[in-house]
Symmetry: C2
């Protein structure tokens, strides 16, 4: 391995949410420290990080002193302003690198990139006016989904179009934004692969998990997923292809639709991902430690799955289930320390494990 | 459950070593915060604790403001000065309680207490003069071990007597200390039980592990231990008996010698214990989370073991093995973030897991 980080050295993490929190714990397990950069006060990761900088992504001097205080920087979300990345990379190494952020920050670029690799996606067209929207609808759908090209997550920044009526009214809502119209894919279910690639080009993928969403938010991930042996192989090869093309270093999530015609890529995320939380109780090395290992230039863990797992998110008032869940002997709880309960807010998750058959 | 701690509430931990560090991570997993009290600067637990107070155990005002900042206090070592406990209990709840500290802080009291419960220990006699030492040796040994009654750990504060010569010289070394002379127990191997008891009197014990020591320091713990079904039951019943007698709340380690005449108690520790580190990768709820659950008045996890495990400590220069160990797919690493490598210093440990047969 090339120059691995040593005990006490510091991984910077942009973003202090639950992913940054669980990454910090994984880093500590390897004797490494984390320094969180987060605009909001008292983020979840602050409970377990060695240090926290509370500053905006536009604060140049905060970014510079932050970058100088760390040995490498990674992130828990992909929508980091380009200007902040420009500053950080003058003083530290960013892993995963800039290329995947350029690609994944924009749905149009991402889908084109995947198609150019020979991977299937939903049909899509760029939309930037009522005229292009109308043309796109007659070309692709309905039904179709109109999405902002940038900054969407958990179903935000998108609208489902079930017919071609009311287009002027709908367009009004998004006017002056770069959009993409995506056609529907007739899929039976969705799976995701959590892959990892080290800086020396080694790859390890976790077993694909099967995802169920509710209200646009991940509800459960179930291992094993319903996949044939060849679909499972395809899913992993596709993930490896994307990571190799990007010369990627880190953990990446690839969401795939399962269709009778094969696997279609829904989207990629250049980071640890909610659909990989099952690895915390299903594997010796989980996605958080795997990401820290790649960023710290340690050898990859192999991520073999030792148990069957159902991961379920605790959203908003679901947190009230904790007392009952805590009594179930097959359940491992993972709570994020968020005091304010809000509808749609991810408060924690749990992994229900059973023997691998 | 009685009034369990809620998200964001704070568990105080006396001691900031690796046990405090791993307790902090477990607390975070349940959405709880930790506040470490530790005299030394930059303790291992500081990397992952919400807050750290750096102060001596004699610092009354520091103890008072600490006690007022937390919702309950626990500890990672048993030799907390009584004066500090007296102050803390005026402002907060101490779990496990004072009684077990009174018993376990003194080898003579501990062994007498266990005998009074009907449990076997090594033969022992109090020694406080050359005369009592000479009498004790002719009564119990040699071979025998002369130990300080208080503040011993990892083989420190003790000397092995293989014959009755040189007693005046040996006594000179320990003069004016309260000592205990312990006879040898002819045992085939040592096991330990990590038990947990909640404030409503429920008990859950982890499967006994088999310990091997080197130079007085734990080297490996192997699961399953070599025990017959009845020995395994005895080990757990003895642990439960001790915890019930003490009206104990928390995780306790009970070290047992396996002899042809049954199990003999070596010692007890009123805290998470090195011989329970295997639970991190062998169970859904590990000893650290189990302890946090009891202290926070959450329901106990059941601690069922899902895999076979060998835990091995990384002592001093063993830390250089990490690069090779990190490549082994069955090994989970747990490093303590200690920058200074010293002979005999516990730097980390690893759990090697294999399927439970």
């Amino acid at each position: 391995m090339r120059d691995p980080l040593k005990t006490g050295e510091v991984i910077g993490i942009l973003g202090g949410g639950q992913l940054g929190r669980m990454l910090s714990v994984a880093a500590a397990r390897l004797g490494l420290r984390t320094h969180i950069y987060e605009p909001a006060e008292n983020p979840p990761a602050a409970d377990v990080a060695h240090q926290v900088t509370t500053a905006q992504y536009e604060d140049t001097s905060a970014l510079i002193s932050y970058a100088k205080s760390i040995d490498v920087v990674t992130y828990e979300f992909e929508n980091i302003p380009t200007s902040a990345l420009d500053i950080l990379e003058q003083h530290t190494v960013i892993r995963p690198g800039r290329e995947v952020l350029r690609v994944s920050q924009d749905r149009l670029i991402e889908k084109s990139y995947l198609n150019n690799l020979g991977l299937k996606t939903a049909p899509f067209t760029a939309v930037n006016s009522l005229g292009t929207l109308t043309a796109a609808i007659s070309d692709i759908g309905p039904p179709a989904i109109l999405k902002t090209r940038r900054f969407g997550y958990d179903g935000k920044g998108q609208i489902r179009l079930t017919d071609a009526s009311d287009l002027p009214k709908i367009w009004e809502k998004f006017e002056r934004q770069d959009m993409i119209l995506e056609g529907f894919v007739a899929f039976s279910h969705e799976v995701s692969v959590i892959g990892a690639r080290s800086s020396d080009g080694n790859i390890a993928c976790f077993d694909p998990g099967e995802n169920v969403h509710r209200n646009g938010i991940l509800h459960t991930t179930t291992l094993p997923a319903r996949l044939s042996a060849s679909q499972r192989t395809d899913a992993i090869l596709m993930t490896a292809k994307i990571m190799n093309a990007l010369d990627y270093v880190g953990v990446m999530a690839v969401e795939l639709f399962v269709t009778p015609q094969g696997l279609t890529v829904n989207e990629i995320a250049p980071r640890v991902h909610n659909s990989g939380h099952w690895t915390q109780n299903g594997c010796v090395v989980d996605q958080f430690e795997q990401h820290i290992r790649t960023v710290a230039q340690w050898p990859l863990g192999d991520g073999a799955r030792h148990s069957n797992v159902v991961m379920e998110n605790l959203i908003g008032a679901d947190i009230e289930r904790v007392e009952a869940l805590a009594k179930d002997s097959n359940i491992a709880l993972h709570l994020y320390g968020k005091a304010d309960v809000k509808p749609g807010r991810k408060m924690g998750h749990f992994n229900c494990i059973s023997p691998k058959i």
